[in-house]
């Protein structure tokens, strides 16, 4: 009797496995035209991936296109192969455009783009690689970081902190950090105050939250740091946890994170959603060549791709009008933010007049 049951169960299992693997191949109608392959971290990370995803979703819905996201295997430890597999899965799933946020996807994307020249790739935070079917879209994060640093000091904070993700190797995070310091310096100059900034790349290398990061930032707040700029996806969780315990403040990153935690004063935005829509439109309206191949886009204040969310910020001493004025002078080129990629200790060694950087 037992043997018969066991046999029946194993047959059932085999059937289930066959059914599972066979299903996608049969259903030809389930094609997804716009695909997104996620960067490290969760899709709904309330930050980088989510901003991109919302852009894909919005464009697809407006134009009645099908869309889907693919997550590379192994999460934060995804290898180039995992990412490539996800892209290949997207192509097999019928993708005509693949949106890939995150510069880490570069190697996988190059391989996939060469193999599938008929598929267009939008590479957020990336470069075009000289391939006609790849469009690299970079941002001037330094301008966004500059605005955040400027706002924090103008608001009256003099003890700042910066926690970056990617261990100091992620260009976007590096630009945020350096811009933040420059903004603080400019505002300190304008106000005639001295500013201290604690600056670290520790614990955020995989863009994930960790107890150690929470303890470290908790120690900063305990010793007087008033506001910390969290530039790295889910490390935000650890930093807000530490801030909430100390009734201190946080600056969010990439998207408006004020909905996430009451500790968020403002967020250094990059217009992910808007620019993903913008780039997708270029795929469909025949102007793709403008942003692909030898051309790539670097979006900053002049294309409204960076800024602070004035509607939801809780700044009291720095007005929206003053913000608009500063943004306008960045747009016009009157204020230029240096975007050199500097190592953290090189930033600390810069001859700032009003800012002291303590590199941790």
């Amino acid at each position: 009797m037992k043997k018969i049951i066991a046999l029946a169960l194993s047959l059932l299992m085999v059937f289930a496995i066959v059914a599972c693997t066979a299903a996608p191949a049969n259903s030809g109608s389930d094609k997804y035209e716009i695909a997104m392959v996620t960067d490290v971290g969760a899709l709904m990370d309330k930050s980088f991936n989510q901003g991109t995803w919302e852009g894909c979703e919005a464009y697809a819905k407006e134009h009645g296109l099908t869309y889907k996201y693919y997550q590379p295997a192994n999460g934060s430890e995804a290898t180039d192969d995992d990412r490539y597999d996800a892209m290949k899965a997207a192509v097999q799933g019928g993708a005509k455009v693949i949106v890939t946020p995150g510069f880490l996807q570069g190697n996988a994307l190059e391989k996939a783009a060469k193999e599938f020249p008929e598929v267009k790739f939008i590479f957020i935070d990336g470069w075009s690689m000289g391939l006609d079917n790849v469009s690299g879209i970079a941002y001037k994060e330094e301008q966004s970081g500059y605005l955040a640093g400027y706002a924090a000091v103008m608001e009256g904070y003099t003890k700042l902190g910066f926690c970056g993700g990617g261990g100091g190797t992620n260009p976007a995070c590096c630009r945020y950090g350096y811009g933040f310091v420059q903004g603080a310096e400019a505002a300190a100059e304008a106000k005639g105050v001295d500013v201290e900034i604690k600056y670290t790349w520790q614990y955020g290398a995989s863009f994930s939250a960790s107890p150690e990061l929470q303890t470290m930032v908790g120690g900063w707040y305990e010793k007087g740091t008033e506001i910390v700029f969290s530039a790295g996806g889910s490390i935000f969780n650890s930093i807000t946890a530490a801030a909430a315990a100390n009734d201190a403040k946080v600056i969010g990153v990439d998207v408006d994170q004020s909905y996430e935690s009451d500790t968020v004063v403002t967020s250094a935005l990059k217009g992910l959603t808007a620019s993903v829509k913008w780039a997708l439109a270029k795929v469909y309206d025949g102007t793709w060549a403008e942003i692909s191949g030898a051309n790539s886009a670097s979006l900053g204040a002049e294309s409204d791709a960076v800024g602070l969310p004035t509607a939801t910020w809780s700044l009291k001493n720095w007005t929206v009008a003053e913000y608009e004025a500063l943004l306008a002078s960045i747009k016009s080129g009157a204020v230029v933010v240096d975007n050199t990629l500097l190592e953290a200790d090189a930033i600390a060694a810069q001859p700032f007049k009003h800012v002291t950087i303590q590199y941790v």
Partner: protein, 349 residues
């Protein structure tokens, strides 16, 4: 100093309580390798309970400083729920190890593999993302005890700052449970019987003790504590986020249990030692050890000579290095329960 003690407890308390969970199972004769898995499961159930409660606005009106007492009840309730979930989850191990006489190491490993997969599967369904966060607010602003709650806003004493400010009630509940359960294990009839089943179950059975029941009791208590410890970990160190991961604290707790020689007092010492160095490694940049306004460890790491060795990486190595050194001196006396890992066979003598 207050900061260091507070943060040390944050690391040490989940380790202590989960290591004690291991002791209860192993003292009854069942190796509980599944501590990590049970913690993950408990953390998920705890976070999910809070998420649901918040979503259904059960405690919304009570959030904030004025009603901190209610919020503490909410935390205690969640601890209980996470504990019960852990106990139920551990029944899988108990059933495999006691009824089916399966290999306990493999059973535990299976649970460790099952828990993150199971948890992530449900988190995806519930939250459509890889982690389950609180429905609103931050853990600290909802559940943390602050000195202003006790009307001590101005007080600046060492005791108040260390033990009544920026702490979670879970810390004290766990410490209390730790003491009570240690007494249960060593000073009561039940504790003696439980330990007997881990040393020589046949002898215990010959005196009329039901070994099956005792082992079930050991595993269930173990599961309860580990599940609760998982939630405590999520609440105090990760903003009440469940993501199918407890940063290896379950395995660390196993190590602490062996390090502490299966004895509660030694375990407490081992957990505190480990927690202290872990905390020092994380907060070295703002640690004023001798109270002179200088951050000694940070200065050392910046020093051109000392900094080559005494830098962030070295500090992060310290907790493990210190544990190894202490083990080298103490491991000779280490003695595991004799019958642990061996399925009970009444016919064997």
């Amino acid at each position: 100093m207050s900061f260091l003690i507070r943060e040390t407890l944050v690391y040490a308390v989940p380790l202590m309580i989960v290591a004690l969970a291991g002791v209860f199972a192993e003292r009854s004769g069942i190796i509980n390798l599944a501590l990590e898995g049970i913690m993950i499961f408990g953390a998920f159930i705890g976070a999910f309970f809070i998420y649901e409660m918040q979503m259904n606005e059960v405690f919304v009106l009570q959030s904030g400083a004025a009603n901190w007492g209610t919020m503490q009840m909410f935390v205690l309730l969640t601890m209980l729920v996470a504990g019960i979930a852990g106990a139920i989850f551990s029944l899988l191990l108990a059933f495999a190890a006691i009824n089916l006489k399966a290999d306990q190491t493999i059973g535990g490993t299976a649970l460790n593999l099952l828990a993150p997969a199971f948890v992530l599967f449900f988190i995806r369904i519930i939250a459509n993302q890889d982690d389950l966060r609180m429905y609103r607010g931050d853990a600290a602003s909802w559940f943390m005890l602050k000195k202003s709650f006790f009307g001590l806003k101005e007080a600046d004493g060492f005791f108040v700052n260390t033990f009544l400010n920026k702490v979670y009630i879970t810390t004290y509940v766990c410490l209390l449970l730790f003491v009570l359960l240690s007494i249960l294990l060593y000073k009561t009839k039940f504790g003696l019987r439980l330990r007997a089943c881990g040393e020589n179950p046949q002898a215990a059975a010959s005196l009329g003790i039901n070994v099956f029941h005792m082992r079930y009791a050991g595993v269930i208590i173990s599961g309860f504590l580990a599940g609760m410890g998982g939630f405590v970990y999520a609440l105090t160190t990760s903003n009440c986020v469940a993501n199918g991961d407890v940063a290896g604290f379950g395995f660390l707790a196993l190590a602490v249990m062996i390090f502490g020689n299966w004895k509660p007092l030694n375990i407490a010492g081992a957990a505190l030692l480990f927690g202290l160095f872990k905390c020092m490694a994380a907060s070295y940049s703002t640690l004023d050890l001798d109270g002179n306004g200088q951050y000694l460890l940070l200065n050392l790491s910046k020093d051109p000579v000392w900094g080559k060795i005494l830098n962030a990486n070295f500090y992060r190595l310290l907790p493990y290095l210190v544990s190894l050194i202490v083990l080298a001196f103490t491991s000779k006396k280490s003695r595991a329960p004799k019958a642990e890992g061996i399925p009970y066979d009444p016919g064997k003598r």
